[in-house]
Symmetry: C2
Subunit: 303 residues, 2 copies
């Protein structure tokens, strides 16, 4: 099952040096989840040849412009392009008011429904589930209410040991029950033990997206056993004071978080405009957590 | 005196085919006037190496997103980049409410003042004057209230015929009065006739910007003697019905307007996403009004 994230923007605050502010597109089993949507995100989708119409779920972490100013334009273009299927939108409560005010003054009546879930940044919550994923909020510590998002794959069905089932003439109608992990007590007293006829499914994977935050450790318990951790790394550690004042993190801190929670891989982004090249940020993070990659626009990371 | 316009976007409705929606930058005597500000305008400024900090005046024609969704991002970046000097902003009354709602929820207190003038689209009005320009609204006919803008150079001072003034020992203190076109009655009864000592200044030029409009002729009187006319040309004339329904113009109609008002040059833009190449639009307009140019992003047209 495909589970990968494509970087559409990785700049903090303002677009610079050909870097766009934050947006990412998660593909889980060919369903598309947009995470944050800075100004220019729809242009980035065009640039990377991704059809906006495929996106059914949008998650906005907080109401700083570098994370959502592109949303109104993206939704408007979906409308103009004739979309009718709903968009599930998750974000801070005021987000809907901001969108509606602008649609009202342009006299736009959307051709598709926005199914909005207002997020609060107080306690972690499960906000969405489907056959592929469970999405929970991560409570971050930023200057304004801000949530990260944890995308966990659903536990998959167990794998049948087909040769053995066939050799022992186990009736096919039992197979779905075995896939679900059940032991079966047959009317004749036979017991079919699940462990004899199935093997465990692939381990489920998890993508954690930590948007803008002070690296204060408060959200670490939620990141345990994360497969891929995206963590903002706005500054080099020599600017720790600046990170603390602005409620952001350094590349070193992002790496320490990845190490502490046992992530398999770390993806860093949200780079300050002062960094024309990103190599120093990568080197700093890699010195603590080896398996670190930079959020480079247009790149796709398999989870 | 420099008087030129640079195209930052010329797509209608949505960004497509490497065309951004509408924005233009007018340079008049090294003062910078932004006209409309679609999503991605700040990225376009970066792309064309234009410093956003130079822009002191912003004019928004109407509240369709393809004309203003980039404004909040541009103003936010000016703030983040430490701007303190005011921005004079002209646009529909609700524009300020839309900006303020977003600044409030991001807890942004701008470091610079926005001096806002609310525009109504009922009758043409002079909305701004400085030493270089007078700006008037043009009342257009679109689906929602929409104003164009007429930028007229100020009448310049008359040119002194220095050799003659010196030969006749005319005192230097009279020169500023002569430049302003006055005749002078001296105490000794001498009359210094302005026309003997000065020549007319260069003809003043005028840039008319007709944003989104049905080409119904209602606004033609305001465009008389226009030097450069920008007129939207969303469709080819074969789609006149579509233009009428959406309150837009065809390339042919834009050219007819230019011809009727005696413009020196026509600039067409706001091209529908259906046109991958713009040559047919140019050919259609040129067949009626020869001196037509396309609004190509990054190009600068001298007025």
């Amino acid at each position: 099952m495909k589970f990968e994230v494509t970087i559409l923007g990785s700049s903090s605050a303002t677009p610079v040096h050909n870097r766009n502010p934050t947006a990412q597109l998660l593909n889980c089993n060919e369903k598309f989840y947009l995470i944050d949507c800075a100004e220019g995100t729809q242009q980035q989708l065009i640039k990377y040849n991704i059809k906006a119409g495929k996106i059914d779920y949008i998650f906005i972490s907080h109401l700083h412009g570098d994370h959502y100013f592109g949303l109104i334009g993206l939704l408007s273009s979906m409308h103009l392009n004739g979309r009718v299927k709903p968009v599930k939108l998750f974000g801070p409560p005021a987000l809907l008011e901001i969108l509606e005010l602008q649609f009202r003054h342009s006299e736009t009546v959307l051709k598709f429904p926005i199914e909005f879930t207002a997020l609060t940044a107080d306690v972690p919550k499960v906000i969405f589930q489907n056959a592929d994923l469970t999405v929970e909020t991560i409570v971050l510590n930023h200057r304004i209410p801000c949530t990260g998002f944890k995308f966990s794959q659903q536990k998959r069905a167990r794998k049948l040991i087909i040769e053995k089932l066939e050799a022992e003439n186990i009736p096919i109608e039992y197979f779905p029950l075995l896939k679900r992990g059940l032991n079966l007590d047959l009317p004749d007293g036979t017991v079919i033990r699940n462990e004899d006829y199935t093997t465990d499914s692939e381990a489920t994977k998890c993508y954690c997206y930590c948007s803008d935050t002070l690296a204060d450790g408060s959200y670490l318990p939620q990141l345990k056993s994360c497969t891929l951790l995206y963590h903002e790394a706005t500054f080099l550690h020599e600017l720790l004071d600046r990170a603390n004042v602005t409620h952001h993190s350094t590349a070193l801190q992002a790496a320490e978080v990845a190490k502490q929670v046992g992530a398999q891989q770390l993806l860093i982004g949200h780079f300050s405009s002062r960094y024309k090249t990103l190599q120093p940020l990568w080197e700093e993070a890699s010195s603590v957590f080896k398996n670190t990659v930079l959020a480079i626009e247009g790149s796709t990371i398999t989870i």
